[in-house]
């Protein structure tokens, strides 16, 4: 069987990138983002990208580097408040933007991967989000119709994988990654380690191998923290 395991980000993306394509990128803020794949896409220089991702990184990190490279034509996101360049490009009319409520975005991606072309949600009824969309009453309550989302490519960050492509995520770095892994025509995954097949808990595999086309161990994981927040250690006297 053809192996799903590739040696690095560049080889894992070979033949998959083209101008004008749609890419889904996992992560919430800078947590659980496919750092290595983003860097490789920056390197490859493809342009006019539509990027579906909850956020757009920060200036100089995460998807922010694709923004700085002028590679992104349109973002489909729920929140981009941490990115000054984003605001600047958007207000200058150089960037298209489609805001989705975060839960609607997550569900649209799940639907796209699950063969569901549309669903109804109460979220956004009576707001800008519902404009131009069907609003329908079920059992006395109004709901807006939202469409499933898919992409040409999904770029995913997981914690561990096996050679069959089974993935496990760690803590809140899971976020959008599992749904996006199901909604890409091709799904490429970077992981912190590839473990022997059979060593992952079979009851705890978040993404079964069927969804993973290519995977590799990322060379660098900076895992930058956006809002380092701590509390003081209790003093010795408290012990």
């Amino acid at each position: 069987m053809v192996s799903k395991v590739f040696k690095d980000s560049t080889s894992a993306l070979e033949g998959l990138l083209f101008d004008g394509m749609t890419i889904m990128a996992g992560g919430f803020g800078l947590c659980g983002i496919p750092e290595n794949l983003i860097a490789a896409i920056r390197e490859a220089g493809v342009r006019n990208l539509t990027v579906i991702s909850n956020n757009c990184g920060i200036d100089g990190f995460g998807l922010g580097v694709l923004l700085a490279g002028g590679q992104i034509k349109k973002m489909i996101s729920s929140y981009v408040g941490e990115n000054k360049l984003f605001e600047q490009l958007y207000l200058a009319g150089e960037l298209e933007l489609e805001f989705n409520p975060q839960g609607t975005l997550a569900e649209r991606i799940r639907a796209g991967g699950a063969g569901i072309p549309a669903f109804y949600t109460r979220t956004g009824v009576g707001t800008l989000v519902a404009e131009g969309k069907e609003v329908r009453n079920f059992d006395g309550e109004d709901y807006v119709m939202e469409r499933g989302l898919t992409a040409d490519l999904s770029i995913i960050k997981a914690w561990k994988a096996d050679a069959a492509g089974n993935l496990a995520y760690r803590k809140t770095a899971r976020n959008f990654n599992p749904m996006m892994a199901t909604a890409g025509k091709v799904t490429v995954v970077e992981v912190e380690s590839i473990v022997p097949t059979g060593s992952l808990d079979k009851d705890a595999i978040h993404t079964p191998g069927v969804y993973v086309d290519r995977l590799f161990v990322g060379a660098h994981f900076e895992k930058r923290i956006e809002q380092l927040t701590t509390r003081p250690r209790p003093t010795a006297a408290a012990h």
Binding site: F28, G29, L30, C31, G32, N54, S77, S78, Y79, V80, G81, E82, F86, E87, Y90, L91, L97, F99, P101, Q102, G103, T104, L105, A106, E107, I109, R110, T121, R122, T123, G124, V125, G126, T127, L128, V129, W159, Y169, R170, K171, T172, A173, R174, N175, F176, N177, P178, M179, H206, K223, R224, I225, E226, Q227, L228, T229, T230, R231, P232, R233
Partner: protein
């Protein structure tokens, strides 16, 4: 005299009931966690995929894979669980969270909330706010009663783009506490902050409201 941000948070914390599952927004709502009444145990949900949020980590122990919806580093508890964003919002949209406490920019007399954008000025996005107000069973909004300019924020109708229509159950400001009838419409002043007069509230409020004070308690 008006309540401080911390006093607003303390008053909001009195809305928490034992056993509640709660989602706290960013800003004043985050402070609510510091004021949970004794004997009340609540479980905090973070919409990026966690139930059972713990306190901030000790210095040197932050884990980049463990953040809250405000992107702050946090910790886990024995009872914590992690899940995907789709599962997290299924939990929110499906009405499984008892209470959410959120910040606000404007609230209307019929319970509309605006808290996500100022056209032409602010390009941030609604994040999970629209899902929270649409899905969580009870919505408490905490905010300053007026803008820096002095303009009222409790209005007959919001002028800013809405986060949700008819979604707010209770409004807590630095001046007092207001019940909002999100089905029928209509605001009732329930509590005045210590040292705040009814006249001051009337002067600083755009919406008309009934008065049924339960006693002006200091938080």
């Amino acid at each position: 005299m008006a309540w401080t941000r911390d006093q607003i948070a303390a008053r909001a914390a009195r809305e928490l009931q034992d056993g509640f599952y709660v989602n706290l927004g960013i800003g004043i709502p985050t402070l609510v966690a510091n004021h949970i009444p004794p004997g009340v145990t609540v479980t905090l949900q973070s919409e990026n995929g966690m139930l059972g949020m713990g306190p901030f980590p000790y210095e040197g122990e932050a884990d980049p894979d463990l953040i809250n919806a405000g992107k702050q580093t946090i910790t886990e508890l024995d009872s914590s669980s992690y899940f995907s964003s789709a599962d997290s919002f299924a939990m929110i949209r499906g009405g499984h969270i008892n209470l959410s406490i959120l910040g606000g920019m404007q609230v209307s007399a019929s319970g509309d909330l605006a808290n996500w954008t100022v056209p032409g000025k602010m390009v941030k996005g609604m994040g999970g706010a629209m899902d929270l107000v649409a899905g969580v069973r009870r919505i408490v909004v905490v905010m300053e009663h007026v803008e820096k300019s002095g303009a009222p924020k409790l209005l007959p109708a919001c002028t800013l783009p809405l986060t949700g229509k008819g979604v707010v159950d209770l409004l807590i400001t630095d001046l007092g506490v207001f019940d909002i009838d999100r089905k029928g419409g209509g605001v009732t002043l329930r509590e005045l902050a210590a040292g705040v007069t009814l006249d001051e509230v009337k002067a600083k409020t755009g919406a008309s409201f009934k008065v049924a004070l339960q006693g002006a308690e200091a938080a």
